[in-house]
């Protein structure tokens, strides 16, 4: 197809710490095409969040090459090419839900009326109409994270970067939000890069799963998933799902014995 959304070649990142340099990423080769849902999975310290932050230009790689939408990550960031969803909702407690979602639109200087309409539309998309005037502390953790997804969608980026967005939520809420996110992805056709350490979450959501391994952070294996479109949570009982999950688990286990 046309130009890849993310193209990383031999990417490495070394953090200079007080005692010794830490290799967070080593020799990362990864190409992500438009419209893909790619999960980065691996144990803590495998560099999955760091890789996402490099794509977002929140960290700079020390060597190798990376482009986002064919340009440098910095250029892509300044073009507002992506929306980022953090582990915590990072909502501003003094802004109500509507104004939290309007924040990126304010920063980019959109007219007030347009911003408001756009924010309301995104809130409806994550099922939060009627909560516009609530403050973050009045919402549950799951709802706060939905607000932060609406905020990431506000600038209508083609790329969504999600860093364990549901990691702090209970399993029932997480299942529900996973299903919502899958619908959202199917409806909008956006490219999603999703960091997680949950195998079932990764398999349920993705069409490609990148298994990473720590010390140094490397890509161990990339697993293609062939689950049918329009799947719901029941898909997790199917043999296809169990087969993909098994392959991911095997890869993770291989990586683990490697490390220690």
């Amino acid at each position: 197809m046309d130009q890849p959304v993310v193209d990383a070649k031999n990417l490495s990142l070394v953090f200079q710490t007080a005692d010794a340099p830490v290799t967070a990423l080593s020799g990362i080769d990864l190409t992500i095409q438009r419209g893909e849902f790619v999960s980065l999975i691996g144990p803590s310290g495998c560099g999955k969040t760091t890789l996402l932050r490099v794509i977002a230009d929140l960290e700079r790689a020390t060597s190798g090459a990376i482009t986002v939408n064919g340009v440098s990550p910095e250029r892509a960031r300044l073009d507002r090419a992506y929306g980022y969803v953090f582990q915590a909702s990072a909502l501003y407690p003094w802004r109500d839900v509507l104004h939290n979602v309007m924040l990126p639109l304010e920063i980019t200087g959109r007219p007030l009326q347009e911003s408001r309409a756009m924010a309301e539309k995104q809130l409806a998309l994550v099922g939060l109409q009627g909560f516009e005037r609530k403050f973050p502390r009045q919402l549950s953790g799951g709802m706060q994270q939905r607000v932060s997804i609406a905020r990431a969608l506000a600038l209508q980026p083609e790329l969504l970067l999600m860093d364990e967005p549901f990691g702090a939520l209970d399993e029932i809420t997480r299942d529900h939000l996973n299903e919502q996110l899958l619908r959202l992805w199917e409806q909008t056709g956006k490219t999603v890069i999703f960091v997680t350490h949950s195998i079932s979450e990764a398999v349920f959501l993705s069409n490609r799963i990148v298994v990473m391994t720590p010390r140094p952070g490397r890509i161990l294996k990339v697993i293609q998933s062939s689950l049918t479109a329009g799947r719901d949570l029941d898909a997790r009982e199917t043999p296809e799902f169990i087969d993909v999950a098994h392959r991911v688990r095997t890869a993770l286990r291989a990586g683990h014995s490697y490390g220690d």
Partner: protein, 313 residues
């Protein structure tokens, strides 16, 4: 209570019951306060007898009549220029100078309080601006952080009484009115808590909240306006409560070396020249009431802002 017909299914206490518990709670809270006030009054009256006693006994002896404890106490509590006036004398003096003098005459405490209040408010406003501006500089520039903060701290180690006369002389020679020098002294005292609180407040946003703005390519001015300043608001109000009282002290101290004719400080000074202790205590009472009023005003502003910013009161 259990016999009430409709109380059977209701889990919430009835209105009457709730009213009663509120009263009981208020009483429980008020009791210690009233106890302390009562104890202070008793000590004060005893202290007035002890401190005024010597001059009173001389007077009573001079009259050549027999006197007892009763006469001693009554005389000690009604002297014209006592060492320590009794509370009711202060109350009386306060009442006379507040309600019985026309508010625009120099005999009126309201007049003097107004003069001091204007210097306090102006000094507070200047101090807030200076404190916030300094804090913004310190947070945004490493050079200012290293170079300015030590000076800000050093400025507070110099006693205000040493600086006040110099400020008055310098600004007076420039032809500025007394209000200007008093406000500057007041500002000098109150910018410090504001600067320190705001530095902390402007640095209070979490990493993720900062990263978020970075992903939008926000400018430093936008980071300041959209994140740092709103996040610093609770810190600003905590500082403002300290600053407003410091600012009142500054305004009063600023009135002492000027030989000012008006203001609570002038009232204190002239009172001590002429041994008018009741006048001094009345002015002190006025100053503390003013302080309470100003802190209450800041708290009210905090509540109103808190409502807009969604923080529970």
């Amino acid at each position: 209570m259990a016999t009430e017909p409709h109380a059977a299914g209701a889990a919430a206490p009835t209105a009457a019951l709730r009213g009663r518990t509120v009263l009981a709670e208020a009483w429980q809270k008020a009791c210690p306060v009233l106890g302390v006030v009562l104890a202070l009054l008793v000590l004060w009256y005893a202290g007035a007898v002890a401190l005024n006693g010597r001059r009173v006994t001389e007077q009573l002896d001079g009259l050549g009549e027999r006197w007892g404890v009763r006469e001693l106490a009554l005389a000690a509590w009604s002297m014209e220029r006592p060492v320590l006036p009794a509370p009711h004398q202060i109350a009386q003096g306060y009442w006379q100078s507040v309600f019985e003098a026309p508010p625009d005459s120099p005999r009126s405490l309201v007049f003097h309080a107004g003069v001091t209040l204007s210097a306090t408010v102006l000094g507070f406003a200047l101090g807030m601006i200076l404190g916030v501006v300094l804090a913004i500089g310190v947070v945004h520039s490493r050079v200012l952080d290293r170079g300015l903060l030590p000076w800000i701290i050093a400025s507070q180690t110099i006693p205000i009484l040493a600086i006040a006369p110099m400020v008055v002389v310098v600004l007076g020679s420039l032809g500025l009115p007394p209000l200007a020098s008093k406000s500057v002294i007041s500002m000098y005292l109150c910018f410090f808590p504001v600067a320190v609180g705001m530095v902390k407040g402007l640095r209070s946003p979490e990493v993720l909240q900062l990263d978020l703005l970075h992903t939008y390519g926000a400018s430093r001015v936008q980071v300041l306006l959209k994140l740092r300043l709103p996040a610093a608001v609770p810190f600003l109000f905590a500082s403002a409560k300290v600053a407003i009282t410091a600012s009142l002290v500054g305004a009063i101290v600023g009135e002492l070396p000027t030989g000012a004719q008006a203001g609570l400080g002038a009232r204190l000074l002239s009172g001590s020249y002429f041994g008018q202790t009741i006048q001094i205590w009345s002015a002190l009472l006025m100053a503390s009431l003013l302080g309470v009023l100003l802190v209450a005003a800041v708290s009210l502003a905090q509540r109103l802002v808190g409502r807009v910013m969604g923080t529970p009161a």
